[in-house]
Symmetry: C2
Subunit: 215 residues, 2 copies
Amino acid sequence: MISILIADDHTMFVDGIESILKTESDVQVIGRCYDGLSILPFIKEKQPDILLLDVNLPGKNGIEVCKELNSKYPAVNVLAISMFNEESYVTEILNNGAKGYILKNTGREELLLAIKTVNSGKTYFSKEVTNTIMKGLMNSRKNGSKKTSFFPKISRREKEVLQLIVEEHTTQEIADKLFISLKTVESHRSSLLSKLNARNTAGLVRITLENKLLD
Amino acid sequence: MISILIADDHTMFVDGIESILKTESDVQVIGRCYDGLSILPFIKEKQPDILLLDVNLPGKNGIEVCKELNSKYPAVNVLAISMFNEESYVTEILNNGAKGYILKNTGREELLLAIKTVNSGKTYFSKEVTNTIMKGLMNSRKNGSKKTSFFPKISRREKEVLQLIVEEHTTQEIADKLFISLKTVESHRSSLLSKLNARNTAGLVRITLENKLLD
DNA sequence: TAATAAATGGGGGTTTTCCCCTAGCCTATA
DNA sequence: TATAGGCTAGGGGAAAACCCCCATTTATTA
């Protein structure tokens, strides 16, 4: 019997998965979490074999949860689930100890297969995810270190500037808001461009939103 | 017996809803669609009592489907489902004939209630959605017509330009790619700024991504 | 403590974006 | 057959963004 904890903020989704798993005699759902914060307390009490973990969770996101879990409860196998087939998500959560990654558009059969595979200690990725990873690897090989798609740390001040850029403020407005000189903001802008590997403001905003770089 | 067609591109989600509904004796799922294009052909053949319709569908989005459905098959009651509690989505799909709107984070009980309510010809909105609409109404009253946040249609050419802007291309590059003059691209940019109510490129990109304006 | 990173800001430049105007041509549709 | 909207494109100018260069001060951390 495989015991499972489901963590996803969409109730309907959780109910759905539970309904699917109910028909399986060798799988049992022992808990549900609707945000990131309640996962660790639950696992402290009951240790499930598998955590079905949504990557985008309110409270504390799936990647952080996975990281903590991996160091404190390595026995729990994490199967990540996400709406998005984004290379950055996949890579990051795998680097933090997830054993598998499937998309929310995979069907019942594949879900069961993924659970059983991960439970046996192996890793499982859906086809689409595998393709994404492969593409990513190929790109990073091509470009050397140009677009390994991980970003250097963005400093506190840079983040503030970035936030205001995304909110459509001009450099002058940002300078006024932060009580610093135009030149300083320009300097932050330019390091943001270089850190995020963007060509212009459009890229800055796109990369920021696509990678949820702001709180 | 209420017959239901589920339209959502996430297989797992569709399976989930189906599992939930399977236990109900007076509800029957008679079909599944995984994109917007296959909905109308299906309905032409078999007319379900209710269409559970995801707002964000590939191929043809929920709003368009709803519009067409409303004129061709008004007997089919549409219950919209969405991840997002976005005022713009809610208002727009309701204006196009949906009878109800629930979020994907609503549970099994509420789903069943929503289905039965909509089937009886009444409308159903989850609490969160109701709140959003009320807030929206209050805001639109406050600001007059400033940010009712609806976007006029973006034309085919504008979409192409927008896509290339988001991909970090400059106006000159876009002109070269589309084999049109710099001035024409500038003219498209400017109508995009005005249509999307953006102040600059940053806003253009943010609004585009936040509202998934591109395929 | 010495090296590193962050935050600040200046000079001086080019490129890009944004804004105002105008205007012809085409197509769908009321 | 008008009227509207979409696509095209020009002139000319102001504002903003982007690109080098550089320097000082202040934290942080190895």
